[in-house]
């Protein structure tokens, strides 16, 4: 992989609308949900609403927005790859860069860099806006444990983006990854976690495991950020390896 390839992939990324819109949504959703969550929590505290979750902490509240920013991030991971497979672009790409491993590495590197570049401000904005919305009940974004959870959020979203990209290369279309990953993240893993038979297993789903990275203070039942990172990494590496194998073997 060379800087020439990275530049080319960056040009590809910034010159179509879809992936750029998805990246913009990561930022907007992160900050927007952060603000709404802060406001609603503040309202609950001030009215002594019993609906306020018992484990509420101002430190953790700031990272709620990032959970939702995961959705546009997954869409970004899909669009990053379907830009190649949607119309036959993959043929042009492989004519220009016939060494498929290099092409794949360049595409993923640029995708990951873009994910980091947008998740960092999204996380900072989400945490900051939530604390502002909480007002007197808020805390500093630099409170103990928060910066680490923010860094964890960046790693979480970036790895989920790569995982999605790997799955999409294997599927060669948007349908399969969107139909599997979005429902899983939005509802599936929550539902599986409350069913006794699957709750233990659901902790090892990539999104549940990765969410551990965003915990300011892991509770007794949590596997913790380190274990969560290991599980998410395993998923990501498997998806990326699968994508690589498929790309190398496949005819265009």
């Amino acid at each position: 992989m060379t800087t020439a390839l990275l530049r080319a992939e960056l040009t590809k990324l910034r010159t179509v609308r879809g992936p750029m819109v998805a990246l913009g949504l990561v930022l907007a959703v992160g900050a927007g949900i952060g603000a709404l969550d802060g406001l609603s929590a503040r309202g609950a505290i001030e009215s002594h609403n019993p609906m306020l979750r018992p484990d509420f902490t101002a430190e953790q509240a700031g990272l709620v927005g990032i959970q939702y920013a995961l959705l546009p991030m997954i869409v970004f991971g899909v669009l990053l790859v379907t830009g190649e497979y949607g119309s036959g672009m993959i043929g042009v790409s492989l004519l220009a860069v016939p060494r498929r491993g290099r092409f794949y590495a360049a595409k993923l590197t640029v995708g990951a860099l873009a994910a980091v570049a947008v998740t960092v401000p999204a996380t900072v904005a989400s945490v900051t806006v939530t604390q502002l919305a909480l007002g007197p009940y808020g805390t500093s974004p630099l409170a103990p444990g928060v910066p680490a959870a923010m860094a964890g959020a960046v790693v979480y979203l970036t790895l989920m983006c790569l995982l999605t990209a790997g799955v999409t290369v294997m599927a060669r279309n948007a349908l399969v990854p969107l139909a599997v990953l979005l429902p899983l993240v939005m509802a599936g893993s929550q539902i599986l976690s409350v069913i006794d038979a699957t709750s233990e297993l659901s902790r090892f789903l990539p999104d549940r495991a990765g969410a551990q990275l965003t915990l300011v203070e892991p509770g007794a039942g949590d596997m913790g950020p380190a274990a969560g990172l290991a599980v998410l990494l395993a998923w990501t590496v498997a998806a990326l390896a699968g994508g690589h194998l498929a790309l190398r073997r496949r005819d265009v």
Partner: protein, 313 residues
């Protein structure tokens, strides 16, 4: 344009003049052979037409040359190397394929820009090729909104981007109007005149044969002909004498009994092979049979191709 001498422009170092070499190439899809043991060499610095009916295996062969499809057997090399091992291949081989099209949502300019960047080709070259194919005015428009002709020109611009010594073009005449085809022919000849090797496929066999100096004809994935266009024409474009007579049945009988090969046609005419118009005229006069038409016809190249590929799809 560039002085080639005997040096091959692909690697600039070896003195092998052979650019595209194909040896025992084979590929099956679900046990159906698309390409079945093809061996040929595309000569340097000329237009070589790669002809065959639809489904003969032309596109699959081109995709194997360009590393997009992995052959089951055999190999295809460019200046001795498989395409997949070329660094910055756009500077060596320019290609346009139906299986390789720009992203619909990206502008023509940005499409060419990323291509140029990936092979370390200067940005000025993007403007040059846009100018060359007359797309400068549409450079900012999305490729998805282009007409067929414009898409073709964009594909050609992409192929020419790296100023490559070899061009591989799959069915560039498809869907073009007669004017478009004429311009394509001029362009192909010009590219060859600049010393480039042009390998161009078409199922419109006679159409493309007129442009090419060399022909490679395949059918059902097998080689049917590999010769210069001049040889092909000399060998295949036979002439015959066409006759219309008041009493065609009787003339037909007389011709046969005189040992002349004659075939009755559906339109009532008789086609005579192996005898000149003068001989036919003499015979008719001697038998007292009036003729309404006596003309020498040259069988078209299209007929020759159909005869050649007739048994193969």
């Amino acid at each position: 344009m560039t002085d080639l001498g005997t040096m091959c422009r692909v690697c600039g170092a070896c003195d092998s003049s052979t650019m595209i070499e194909i040896e025992g190439l084979a590929k099956s899809y679900r046990h159906v052979a698309a390409v079945d043991g093809l061996t040929f060499t595309v000569p340097d610095g000329k237009v070589t037409a790669f002809l065959g009916p639809n489904g003969a295996g032309k596109s699959t062969t081109m995709k194997m040359i360009l590393g997009l499809v992995r052959p089951d057997r055999g190999r295809a090399t460019l200046g001795g190397l498989p395409y997949r091992e070329l660094d910055e291949p756009l500077r060596r081989v320019g290609a346009s394929l139906e299986a390789a099209v720009p992203h619909r949502g990206r502008s023509a300019y940005h499409h060419l820009l990323w291509l140029a960047q990936s092979n370390r080709i200067g940005r000025h070259r993007v403007h040059e090729v846009l100018e060359m194919v007359d797309l400068t005015g549409a450079a900012g428009r999305r490729a998805g909104g282009f007409s067929l002709g414009m898409s073709r020109r964009l594909g050609l611009a992409a192929a020419l981007l790296g100023d490559p010594p070899v061009l591989v073009l799959d069915e560039p005449a498809n869907g073009l109007d007669p004017e478009g085809i004429r311009r394509l022919r001029d362009l192909l000849r010009r590219l060859a005149a600049e010393g480039r090797t042009v390998f161009v496929s078409s199922h419109l066999m006679a159409e493309m044969a007129q442009t090419a100096e060399h022909l490679i004809v395949i059918g059902r994935g097998r080689l049917l002909a590999d010769m210069s266009t001049a040889d092909f024409v000399a060998r295949n474009a036979r002439s015959y004498v066409r006759i219309r007579a008041r009493d065609p049945e009787r003339l037909h009988r007389e011709l046969i009994s005189a040992g002349i090969s004659a075939t009755g046609r559906d339109d009532g005419s008789i086609a005579v092979e192996g005898a000149s118009a003068a001989e036919v005229s003499e015979l008719a006069l001697a038998r007292g049979l009036p003729l309404d038409e006596l003309s020498t016809q040259t069988a078209s190249l299209e007929d020759a191709f159909l005869r050649l590929t007739g048994g193969s799809r």
